[in-house]
């Protein structure tokens, strides 16, 4: 089929709601996810106890392969159904609600880590330094100076200090520009899709992916620099902890978002999507904007302030 089946008649649109018959994918997904996570947990526990982790890696790999098979199969199934015209506009709205609330759940996940950062900066570290009602905790590590970024931890043996932290106006600024630009280019691509300009769509979507990959490379370089040159690691105390966890989870989401965009490019190349019906593309671009907004928060609260 060359184009997606679209519905124009309002009444007809409301009269179809596709309920799939049985599906094998959820149970495959359960087995895959269970094996993957059980494998990961076993790797962590066994290696911390100095035991062999070979079997755990096997579990993890088998689980991951099942997950990959499931993702291709399940999404492939949905794409085929969509292109066969089984999805009414009402179905489309279910997908929209689903994606919106999924992104909201992601926002709350990041909120937990931002909350940890704010709590450490505003309360925990100043209290350790002797400030306010909780100043008594200063007695634990006499002479500890509360600063932010916290370089010298209360116990420098357990948490060896970093030499310095990464300033905002070098690579992080470059990354900000890359990511904000990519948000712009994905929007241009979306407009091109809606206007039916396939060539323009391909170009701007590819440009978005290039910018995204650029971001990942710069971020990886920054991590290597932090670990090798600055001794800024996960173990450098609360600054390193919040820095790497926030930027790390963001980076993981960037990689996921980039994968989504790459798949969208492949689908565009194959001639998927129409000017009216292209929710897969829209979902990926929503996700991309979300990743961008999180970065702006990170750039402000982790790097600048």
């Amino acid at each position: 089929m060359a184009t997606d089946h679209t519905y124009t008649h309002e009444k007809y649109a409301y009269q179809k709601y596709y309920v799939p018959e049985q599906s094998k994918w959820p149970i495959i997904a359960t087995v895959g996810l269970g094996l993957t996570l059980f494998g990961v947990a076993s790797i962590m526990v066994n290696s911390s106890q100095g035991e062999s982790t070979g079997g755990s890696w096997l579990l993890f790999l088998v689980g991951s392969l099942i997950m990959a098979y499931m993702l291709f199969g399940w999404f492939g199934n949905v794409i085929r159904e969509s292109r066969a015209g089984l999805y009414s506009p009402q179905m489309d709205r279910s997908f929209r609600w689903g994606m919106s609330w999924f992104i909201f759940s992601e926002v709350m996940f990041f909120a937990a880590f931002f909350g940890a950062l704010f709590y450490a900066r505003v309360f925990a570290v100043p209290w350790l330094g002797g400030e306010g009602d909780r100043g008594s905790s200063n007695l634990l590590w006499e002479g500890f100076q509360a600063t932010w970024p916290l370089i010298n931890t209360p116990d420098p043996v357990a948490y060896p200090p970093a030499k310095e932290v990464i300033g905002p106006w070098g690579l992080p600024l470059v990354n900000t520009i890359l990511l904000v630009t990519s948000s712009l280019t994905v929007t241009i691509a979306h407009h091109a899709l809606k206007a039916g300009h396939r060539g323009k769509l391909k170009f701007w979507l590819a440009a978005t992916i290039a910018l995204a990959l650029g971001f990942v490379v710069v971020q990886a370089y920054e991590y290597v620099h932090a670990y090798k040159d600055l001794n800024l690691t996960l173990e450098s105390g609360i600054y390193g902890t919040t820095f790497f966890m926030l930027t790390g989870f963001h980076g993981a989401h960037v990689i996921l978002g980039t994968l989504m965009l790459i798949i969208m490019l492949v689908r565009v190349m194959k001639g998927h999507f129409t000017a009216e019906q292209h929710f897969g593309f829209e979902a990926a671009s929503w996700y991309w904007h979300f990743v961008d907004v999180v970065w702006l928060m990170l750039f402000t609260f982790v790097y600048i302030l």
Binding site: Q15, Q22, P26, I27, L37, W97
Partner: protein, 527 residues
């Protein structure tokens, strides 16, 4: 808006598939609802047997049955299994069964994801249960898993526990997304928001709470994972972190979580009381606003669990007053339930017995909650059996009686048979007496100073503990009767009409009992 099954390409079946694949591959909201309910009851018995171990050990002072280390594993696993394995899945099961029928939809909005939400649960609890057999034993730090008990001092199995919680979280979030999409997108034409049945309203708000706080739970266990395995210092003051941070993040999840476990019960009771009072619900709109208010307030009261940890005085005052404020919308609800019964033509079938007990006993739990909300008084009550009494009063006659009431109310609809009323009433009275015997003395024990989570206690607490244990055994054994009643009802019994309760209202009663495999093939018109 309406919704009809697509009859595309002759793939359409009118009944379930045969054999095990019916359950493994199903996309049907009734099959998935049934699996949730069966799983939940299995977990209820599993977690309940751990409670029996706890009460057996506490029957007399001294250590007689289990060693303290295993006792700690029992209290922890009992809490985790009851919260995440029994109560939450039971409500999701009820939602799966009832929401499509109540809003006039053919099924849930995202049926395949619905199946995945369910099957992740057995997977998660398999991992959690497997920790009982690991070296170092199962998690032993209480269901609240406070750092550093769960990080620096936790057993090696903590890492498995963390991933089990992640899987439960994924399941809950997907389930909640499905509920919201179904309610917002699949309502029958004419069913405006303020015409939605209250069970639908309470589940809409519950689903919002789930999506808002389950990721925060995922965040806090991830921080633990990193502290344990990768040397971060979220909860370690020697690296600039703070163990108190754990409690803030945990309770930001934990307090909305307790409303997640009670709001759907509020909704169900708001159907059952009008049905058996043969009167419409008093104050429908105020019920909706009250649930909304409770949900919003639940985000700004978390530190009332932490009064003794040493938060600043301004924080204590804020969280104390904010917590007390929740009594206002809750009071509105209790008033409305009582006003619904006032001058009604009341009968007391099993669902109504459980619902009336719910109103009275949940209110007792609410009042002890108010006592705990008073910061200076909480300094005395904190971590005593008074707290144990309080949350068991809101969870057992609150959440669990709400589930039993719902089960009896809708069993005729689900199975097409009437349950055995005499046995059901016996189940109610034995549960009612057993649970009050088990939990009421705990108030006195707590006020007298008995700390929670201990396997042994001072001699002056002996009598009340023995009473409590007898009540707990009675309550526990009674639940096997419930299993018998349900199995009997599934296998046969008096044929149930489409609407077995004369006062009941709602779209679900317009369908035959049992309802067709796909609930509403043609969307009903709601006037």
């Amino acid at each position: 808006m309406s919704a009809v099954i697509d009859t595309h390409a002759g793939e359409h079946h009118h009944g379930p598939a045969k054999g095990i694949t019916r359950w493994l591959f199903t996309t049907n909201h009734k099959d998935i609802g049934t699996m949730y309910l069966v799983f939940s009851f299995a977990m209820f018995l599993f977690g309940g047997s751990m409670a029996m171990v706890i009460r057996a050990e506490l029957f007399q002072p001294g250590l007689q049955i289990v060693d303290p280390e295993f006792f700690n594993q029992m209290t922890t696993m009992h809490g985790l299994i009851m919260v995440f394995g029994a109560v939450m899945p039971a409500f999701v099961g009820l939602a799966n069964w009832m929401l499509p029928m109540m809003v006039g939809a053919p099924d849930m909005a995202l049926p395949r994801m619905n199946n995945w939400s369910f099957w992740l649960l057995p997977c998660a609890f398999l991992i959690l249960a497997s920790t009982l057999f690991m070296s170092g034993g199962a998690p032993n730090f209480g269901w609240t898993f406070y750092a550093p008990l769960s990080t620096t001092y936790g057993p090696p199995s903590t890492t498995f526990f963390i991933f089990a919680v992640h899987i439960m979280g994924i399941s809950s979030i997907m389930g909640a997304i499905n509920v919201i999409a179904t309610i917002l997108n699949l309502r029958a034409p004419g069913m405006t928001l303020m015409k939605m049945p209250l069970f639908v309203w309470t589940w809409l708000i519950t689903a919002f709470l789930l999506i808002a706080v389950m990721p925060v739970l995922a965040g806090v266990v991830t921080m633990m994972l990193m502290d344990i395995n990768f040397g971060t210092s979220f909860f370690d003051a020697s690296g600039g972190g703070d163990p108190v941070l754990f409690q803030h993040v945990f309770w930001f999840f934990g307090h909305p979580e307790v409303y997640i476990m009670i709001l759907p019960a509020f909704g169900a009771v708001s159907h059952i009381i009008p049905a058996f009072s043969r009167k419409p619900l008093f104050g429908y709109a105020s019920m909706v606003y009250a649930v909304g208010a409770i949900a919003l307030l639940s985000f700004v009261v978390w530190a009332h669990h932490m009064f003794t940890v040493g938060i600043p005085i301004a924080g204590q005052l804020f969280f104390m007053y904010a917590t007390m404020l929740i009594a206002v919308p809750t009071g509105v609800k209790v008033f409305n339930w009582v006003a619904t019964m006032f001058r009604g033509a009341l009968t007391f079938e099993a669902p109504m017995l459980f619902a009336v007990a719910f109103v009275i006993l949940f209110t007792i739990g609410g009042f002890s909650g108010l006592m705990l909300a008073i910061a200076p008084a909480d300094f005395q009550y904190h971590d005593t059996y008074f707290v144990v009494a309080h949350f068991h009063y809101v969870l057992v006659p609150g959440a669990i009686f709400g589930i039993f009431a719902s089960a009896y109310f809708w069993l005729p609809k689900w199975t097409g048979h009437m349950y055995d009323e005499t046995l059901a009433k016996t189940h109610f009275w034995l549960s009612f007496i057993g649970m009050n015997l088990a939990f009421f003395p705990m108030h006195f024990l707590g006020l007298a100073g008995m700390p929670r989570r201990i396997p042994d206690y001072a001699l002056q607490f002996a009598d009340f503990n023995m009473v409590s244990s007898i009540g707990a055994f009675m309550f526990g054994a009674t639940q096997l009767l419930f299993l018998l009643i349900v199995v009997k009802c599934i296998r046969g019994g008096e044929q149930a009409p489409a609407k077995p309760w004369e006062g009941a209202e709602g779209l679900e009663w317009t369908l035959p009992s049992p309802p067709p495999y796909h609930s509403f093939q043609t969307p009903p018109e709601v006037k």
